[in-house]
């Protein structure tokens, strides 16, 4: 049984401009010890999906089964045990740490809230964790502003892991960091995965980071997963035209001064196109694509795509 199993999850928001369907029917599973990458552009709903899975945002409908319990239906005051086992690492370590608290207080708070250990035990755990993420013990008496971006992300990781979670959702954990620091943090996350047997949902807009980090990849577009596959297959043989466009858009010295592979802008989640939500930007769309919303279906072993013309590189002739 998977550790996490999400079925037909919807998260909608009422806005002055209408209904915003941020997450619009997503199903996914994460096995124990698995690292699942979730890639998509801004506005595709990937962060909202992560927050809904953690119940930081309430779902509109659907289920989130974690170790057998449906988290989507647990009353919010009874979420404590779940919060202990599922944690999040945020993109911006600058805004997610309280500037008025010392690092010791920031790291002790989760233990205190969940009633773990006595004072001495909490202190021991905090000291152990700060060294584990590669910061000196002297960091504990300092404040967040005294650290660089990379160091702050180490603190964010320590805070997420101090409760010993099973599932960690990483929301763009290295996007705000310089390239020379990114590798340090990615390596730390891999070490932590091994040491604590973590499962990750790794959210990023950066395909190359996802390519390094994920066992299995989900590609999200306007509230839906449009393609899913194990890393190697998906990179070698993308089935969905959007996945192909994303891969082609990675700047690559081999494609010197080549034209942009995909035109158009991402539609607004308040105004999702009818039929296939990608069809207005799609180079191989036909008349069916404007009418029928494609389901996520298997087109190759272990690889699913929501596309009427999955795997085709050119526009098929109309019947």
């Amino acid at each position: 049984m998977p550790l996490l199993s999400v079925a037909d999850l919807h998260t909608h928001f009422q806005t002055p401009r209408g209904l915003l369907r941020a997450v619009d029917g997503v199903s996914l599973a994460i096995e124990e010890g698995e690292s699942v990458g979730l890639v998509g552009e801004s506005g595709c709903g990937k962060s909202t999906l992560g927050k809904t899975i953690l119940r930081l945002v309430n779902p509109t409908s659907g289920s989130v089964a974690f170790d057998g319990d449906d988290i989507a239906k647990v009353p919010s005051d009874a979420l404590g045990p779940y919060r202990r086992r599922a944690q999040m690492i945020f993109q911006d370590p600058f805004s997610s740490l309280n500037p008025r608290h010392t690092i010791e207080r920031i790291l002790t708070a989760p233990l205190y809230v969940h009633g773990i250990g006595d004072r001495a035990e909490r202190k021991r755990r905090v000291r152990e964790m700060i060294e584990r993420v590669g910061l000196p013990l002297s960091s504990l008496s300092r404040y967040p502003h005294e650290f660089s971006g990379g160091q702050r992300q180490r603190i964010g990781i320590a805070r997420a892991l101090i409760l010993g979670p099973d599932l960690v959702i990483c929301d763009e954990p290295v996007s705000a960091l310089d390239l020379s620091i990114q590798a340090q943090i990615l390596n730390l996350l891999v070490e932590m995965k091994r040491d604590f047997n973590l499962s990750y949902l790794f959210i990023s807009h950066d395909l190359s980071v996802i390519r390094y980090f994920a066992d299995r990849v989900l590609v999200m577009y306007l509230g839906r997963v449009v393609e899913e596959g194990t890393g190697a297959d998906l990179w070698a043989r993308p089935l969905h035209p959007y996945t192909r466009a994303l891969i082609a858009a990675i700047p690559d010295p081999a494609r010197r001064r080549q034209a942009a592979p995909i035109g158009g802008d991402i539609a607004s989640p308040e105004d999702i196109p009818r039929g296939c939500r990608f069809h207005p930007r799609c180079a191989i769309a036909t008349s069916i694509c404007a009418k029928v919303d494609p389901m996520l279906e298997a087109h190759a072993p272990g690889q699913r795509a929501a596309c009427h013309h999955a795997g085709q590189l050119t526009r098929p002739p109309e019947a």
Partner: protein, 332 residues
């Protein structure tokens, strides 16, 4: 090489509490794309602001010159500089929303540039604004011209900024991380647009970026900046295929994007230890605290960026010596 359009030489920018750019020089030829690569704190944006003479008041240019079409911009009186700015050298920034005026329509903002620099009438400026929006491939330009910035997507806003920047057909466009805030598919469109305008308008492009993939795809020449000093300079292809400076090497190795075979199950990414903050009190080469091959001699004084072979500049004496030994071992 084409004639030099911009020639920055031994530029030093000093603040009361430090010298974020020191003895830095590079040149841009007519119509050339030069990428300036560095991480935050490397001084790449400050260099751009110095070229535009838009440094914050606390900054002082302690030394150096900025030659542009035969003049030293640093010696130009402010009224003359105002004519250079926008007309001959234009600049676009990472976050278009903060550089656009939220209470003016897009058309008014483009027209302002044209009326100021070209003295166009209101009517002619509006007509030209629509043409410019069309040039940067904004769909329905006659409608978008009356939109306010908040109605546009991030990619569209950056196109509007580009339209304003190229309104007077500048000879040099400085693009400071122009696509960092944009999604990958939009990023590709914007870079493609910049390159097309470069060709069509015959302008040079100074592309400030931290993304080596972008460098490889779009730049002719690359300058790597570390802690305010030039570390390495070369043509884009040779630099990516055969980086010489330990910092450039480290960056390429730490970058997951350039190798599809890298996966966490196959091994850790190569790291550059430490952070750029360690360069602050370093009397010698600023990279010494993070460098695996540093020698005692590296700690004495910062090495200059020197030509070690044609079109290849390096600020790392130990590597330069090794290169020379290799070259003579090969026989020439």
């Amino acid at each position: 090489m084409t004639a030099k359009l911009l020639d920055v030489s031994s530029l030093t920018i000093a603040f009361p509490r430090g010298t974020p750019v020191a003895d830095f020089g590079f040149a841009i030829g007519e119509g050339e794309t030069v990428a300036v690569v560095g991480e935050s704190g490397s001084g790449k944006s400050l260099t751009a602001l110095a070229i535009m003479r838009l440094l914050p008041r606390t900054a002082r240019i302690a030394s150096g010159s900025i030659g542009f079409r035969g003049r030293d911009l640093l010696a130009l009186p402010e009224p003359d500089m105002r004519k250079v700015r926008g007309r001959e050298i234009a600049m676009i920034f990472q976050e278009p929303m903060t550089s656009l005026n939220p209470v003016l329509t897009v058309g008014k903002q483009i027209a302002e540039v044209l009326r100021l620099h070209e003295g166009l009438s209101a009517e002619a400026a509006r007509k030209r604004s629509i043409e410019l929006l069309d040039l940067v491939r904004v769909a329905d330009p006659h409608l978008r011209v009356d939109d306010f910035p908040h109605r546009l997507s991030g990619g569209m806003r950056q196109r509007v900024m580009i339209a304003m920047a190229v309104a007077c057909r500048p000879k040099l466009l400085i693009a400071d991380e122009p696509t960092t805030a944009l999604d990958v598919t939009i990023q590709a469109q914007v870079l493609d647009l910049l390159d097309r305008l470069r060709r069509e308008l015959g302008m040079a492009l100074m592309l400030i970026t931290h993304d080596l993939g972008i460098v490889g795809q779009w730049a002719d020449r690359v300058v790597v900046l570390y802690a305010g000093r030039g570390a390495e300079e070369a043509d884009a292809g040779p630099l990516l295929e055969d980086p010489l400076h330990p910092y450039t090497k480290g960056l390429l190795a730490a970058s997951p994007r350039l190798d599809a075979r890298l996966h966490y199950t196959a091994g850790a990414l190569r790291e550059i230890p430490g952070s750029i903050a360690t360069a602050q009190r370093e009397p010698g080469c600023p990279f010494v605290p993070r460098c695996a091959m540093a020698l005692p001699s590296c700690r004495i004084s910062p090495p200059p960026l020197e030509e070690i072979r044609p079109r290849r500049l390096l600020a790392c004496p130990p590597t330069a010596a090794q290169e020379q030994a290799n070259a003579s071992a090969v026989g020439r």
